[in-house]
Symmetry: none
Subunit: 133 residues, 4 copies
DNA sequence: GTGGTCTAGACCACG
DNA sequence: GTGGTCTAGACCACA
């Protein structure tokens, strides 16, 4: 239940999953949802490591992956910045979503469930939560 | 692209994922979809290991998990059998599906995608494939 | 001047360039030139680290990059293997070569040299070395 | 895509490479190609730093390197000037070109590519671009 | 045995 | 100050 605010980002990490993956995914999500603006400076590797009380190498690994995905850019001696290209973000989002959806459909198919079954579940779930759960 | 038929089951394994998980999931799938009938005998650990050319311990681990899920039962001196209770299978299927769906919705939400976006993607995909691609 | 033979590979490392890059490039080269056969097992991370007397993490970083390039595959608990797909190797080689050539042509252009100048230099060089230098 | 005109020179810098190297190379290129004439005054360190909005130390480092290469001279109280010796420029160009070519040939060799392969690629590329692409 | 993750702490290049 | 590379050494999951 570690919940941390660092600059305009907030992180929640637990120790049952690789830390660098959690940082990666939460940073990705913040960028994809626009919670951190295009062109903005990310927290520095050291700063983030200190705040989350983890090793800088772990943060760096996540940051390298973000850059490989085209979501951030490093500027020597200045820090890490969110890409200022909306196209990069959009195409990344689309690609990842497609990957997630396809693998989800495979999972469902492996249980013998059809798209109708899924829609039904979602409708029920929405109704339940709409009722104030 | 290793594709193997063992008794009434067929397996497809690749080495970039935990082997025991793949066996587990593919056996689960066969039971959930009725590809192997309720009450039927599963291949023995040794037989399956030999056919797939993997370590028996790896198969064993998958079988233990299946039994813990209530999908199979061991009978002393006879081997491992698919449960003969349709209720077990049904409830397992529902639980797992709910788990998959919830985690999928979380993934989508982390990318800032709504249920409408997902439906649109699916419709397009279905159309594409329906056209004979 | 460290020169090392490890299995069918040989490495030569110096400390004026990132070690992981040197390992990466020399392993790439061995695969591209067929010095290690498709499908063959690479030295394990630990083994290579021990032979080259460097840290396993450094080797691992190079290996991760190789896998990202599609030149190797990891098999859990078994080790790292050269891809068995000749297409992967061929396309990797082509892409990388194109990248090298393009950037070389830019360098030459920045010095105001034309393709003819380059050919002339090469012809002279070949002649010199053919003369037994 | 920062593109800047400073006096008779123009610079294009990105932040994913050492800034001082980019300035060095682009200044070199301008001198080698005669875009700035022999004996001409270079922009002052301060002026260039201001225009490119980078740290003066960074520009200084590039200028020191240029002088070490014999391409420029500092004159007390007057500034930095392009050398007025065509021989200096010519020999520098030849040396650097040789260095580039040799290292390029090594790269190609590490991929198992011969001079013929390279020529073929170049011919195709030229054809493609000649067609008006 | 294999690879994967993480820590602590060092030193370097760049701005 | 920033990120980049490396070491030494620990613990984990998988086969």
């Amino acid at each position: 239940m570690e919940e941390q605010q660092v600059g305009s980002l907030h992180f929640q990490i637990d120790f049952s999953q690789p830390l660098y993956e959690q940082i990666l995914e939460q940073a990705r999500s913040a960028i994809a949802k626009g919670e951190i603006a295009l062109g903005d400076k990310m927290p520095s590797v050291r700063e983030l490591a200190q705040e989350l009380r983890i090793n800088p190498n772990t943060v760096m690994r996540a940051y390298q992956e973000l850059e490989r995905d085209g979501l951030t850019e490093k500027r020597r001696g200045q820090g890490t910045f969110v890409t200022s290209s909306p196209e990069h973000v959009a195409s990344f989002r689309t690609d990842l979503a497609a990957k997630y959806i396809d693998s989800f459909l495979e999972q469902m198919d492996s249980l013998g469930l059809t798209w109708n079954d899924i829609e039904k579940y979602i409708r029920e779930k929405t109704a339940r939560e709409g009722d104030g759960l």
